[in-house]
């Protein structure tokens, strides 16, 4: 039975309280980290092969090292709790059931990067998780685990809990920072990168909720242990959000070596009603769709990549044989058109246009040029935008059409126009 790290407290009553968290060993990692050198903490996290679990899978320890050593400006640790990738819900569970693990991880990470100010940016729709987090923060302050002179260590760390107001683009690292600054969630042009010039112009590290929650375990049980749980490309376990046409949708914790097939058929009961798998998205809606013959891959940072997709947020969306792929693409295209921030031209103009074309195809008014137009426009825009949002849209645009082209063509043929 694989080890449970992130979900170890989920089944406990009042798992969100400080008392319960301490009962199961909470805040012992912090005590240990407070005796470590900041550089040593970062080194452990690097050796643990922890990769960002929000979507980009960037090596976390490496990211922490990007703050310029010579900088004397205040550094910020910002937690990306703006979970928004369709098909993903694991951060919601983590914040509602184990908020103190996030706080403990934050204080340790803050020590590693020399930060005394943390922000948690939580999406505005997550009202209940926000209330739970808020209570946990108050408990932590009352117990001297946050604020001045934490546990008598001489370290200060404050946390500001900040609610978003409804925009998927605020899950993009620098879009989040713009929103934190009280502006529209427009991603920032890079360079400079956040570690150099981030929130309010100061060096900033942005990490996902789940990523930071791995840190106390790495400190307590060592980098080698964590790395050994996973694969060569990524250490540890992680949470997979599985939804769609499975018998048992939900959060699954597994080592990153777990295969997509295992997730669907062993952990989630297989396709509902005994039907057949048609397609599955492995990493949230921005990941390219995979066909049934492509699911024997480890769900780590490299597995889905080997099939032209990505692990992203590990949001697994399962589609069975009843699904109309063109209609599914229309739904996804509508999402990207709605969430485009509008800042840069290729994304702003073509997400709306491509949605119109997919809708027209679904409504039976598709033209034979439309599919190649969508593919060509998507390819021309990929890699040209301020942020990776558009590349996330391109994932489904291209993969749904290329892998299920005949289904699209049938819709276009069935009502043929001149």
């Amino acid at each position: 039975m694989a080890e449970k790290i992130f979900t170890r407290n989920f089944h406990l009553t009042d798992s969100h309280t400080l008392a319960r968290y301490k009962e199961t060993g909470g805040y012992t990692a912090l005590a240990k980290a407070l005796t470590m050198e900041p550089a040593a903490i970062t080194e452990e996290v690097k050796k643990a092969n922890l990769r960002g679990l929000g979507g980009a899978a960037f090596p976390t320890g490496v990211k922490w090292g990007f703050i310029p050593k010579a900088s004397t400006a205040p550094r910020y640790l910002v937690i990306n709790a703006d979970e928004g990738e369709p098909g993903t819900f694991k951060d919601r569970y983590l914040m509602e059931r184990d908020p103190h693990a996030l706080l403990e991880g934050m204080v340790i990470a803050a020590r590693a990067i020399g930060s005394h100010q943390g922000f948690i940016y939580i999406r505005g729709e997550y009202v209940q998780p926000w209330r739970v987090l808020d209570a946990a923060v108050r408990e932590a302050y009352a117990a001297g685990l946050l604020g001045k002179n934490i546990q008598g260590s001489g370290t200060d760390f404050d946390i500001v809990l900040h609610r978003g107001a409804g925009a998927y683009i605020c899950g993009e690292e620098t879009g989040l920072l713009s929103s934190l600054e009280g502006k529209k969630g427009w991603p920032k042009i890079k360079p400079p990168f956040p570690a150099v010039k981030g929130a309010f112009g100061n060096p900033t590290i942005v990490n996902n909720v789940e990523t930071i929650m791995a840190v106390p375990h790495i400190i307590n049980r060592g980098a080698e242990w964590f790395a050994g749980l996973g694969t060569k490309s990524q250490g540890g376990t992680r949470l997979y959000s599985v939804s769609g046409h499975v018998e048992k949708p939900g959060v699954v914790e597994a080592p990153v070596s777990v295969t997509l097939r295992q997730l669907i058929y062993e952990h989630c009961g297989g396709i509902r009603g005994g039907r057949k798998l048609k397609g599955v998205v492995p990493g949230g809606s921005s990941a390219a769709i995979l066909t049934p013959d492509e699911i024997d891959i480890p769900m780590d940072a490299d597995g889905p990549k080997s099939k032209g997709s990505m692990i992203g947020s590990a949001g697994v969306i399962v589609m069975d044989e009843t699904v109309s792929i063109p209609e599914a693409l229309m739904v996804v295209a509508r999402f990207y058109a709605h969430e485009s921030c509008g800042q840069c031209t290729p994304c702003r103009e073509s997400t709306g246009w491509i949605y119109k074309m997919t809708r027209r195809i679904v409504e039976g008014k598709g033209r034979k040029e439309d599919l190649d137009t969508i593919l060509d426009v998507a390819r021309r825009g990929a890699g040209t935008t301020i942020c990776a949002f558009y590349d996330g849209a391109v994932g489904p645009y291209i993969s749904y059409i290329e892998k299920f082209r005949s289904e699209f063509e049938d819709l276009i043929r069935s009502e043929s126009h001149a």
Binding site: P86, F89, K183, S241
Partner: protein, 161 residues
């Protein structure tokens, strides 16, 4: 009488605004929290509320308007006593969100984006709320309601005054 037409925070609220502004290296960081406070207080964010808030931050009103029109949780027109937001994104779509939306539309007698004439419910379709394991689902005011069926929807609506 302070409302969206003549917005005015109480002294306690103004103290809270100042406290929030002090939490951020640049006080503008408190804009979203203060707009949430304003919406909770005045019901929605009218142009008068925008100008009032702009004054509290020393900002040009146009830039507050930019923020308010960008985010979906800020209502620029009066909303119903309850807000029912049904997800129509991919996982919920796979689990018959279309049917739930149609049913809600029939029960409420309004289209998505509209408020019932009696001011009880604003009915919206929204993008992913990240509760896909309970698809199809919707947000009713502050809470998530999932694993919806037409019957469950009816029961929930009946509980909304």
């Amino acid at each position: 009488m302070s409302d969206a037409r003549n917005p005015e925070f109480t002294p306690e609220q103004l103290a809270e605004v100042r406290r929030l502004q002090g939490l951020y290296p640049d006080r503008r960081g408190a804009l979203l929290p203060v707009l949430h406070l304003a919406q909770d207080t005045f019901g929605h964010i009218s142009l008068e509320v925008e100008e009032y808030v702009a004054g509290l931050f020393g900002m040009h009103a146009a830039h507050v308007h930019e923020v308010v029109t960008f985010y979906t949780l800020f209502f620029q027109k009066p909303k119903g006593r309850h807000v029912v937001s049904v997800c129509h994104n991919i996982s919920c779509y796979l689990m018959n969100a279309k049917g739930i939306i149609q049913h809600l539309g029939e029960r409420l007698g309004v289209e998505p984006g509209e408020t019932t004439p009696d001011g009880r419910i604003t009915f919206l379709t929204v993008e992913c709320l990240c509760a896909c394991e309970q698809a199809p689902m919707m947000q009713v005011d502050d809470r998530y309601e999932g694993n919806l069926t037409n019957e469950k929807v009816d029961r929930i609506l009946d509980g909304l005054r």
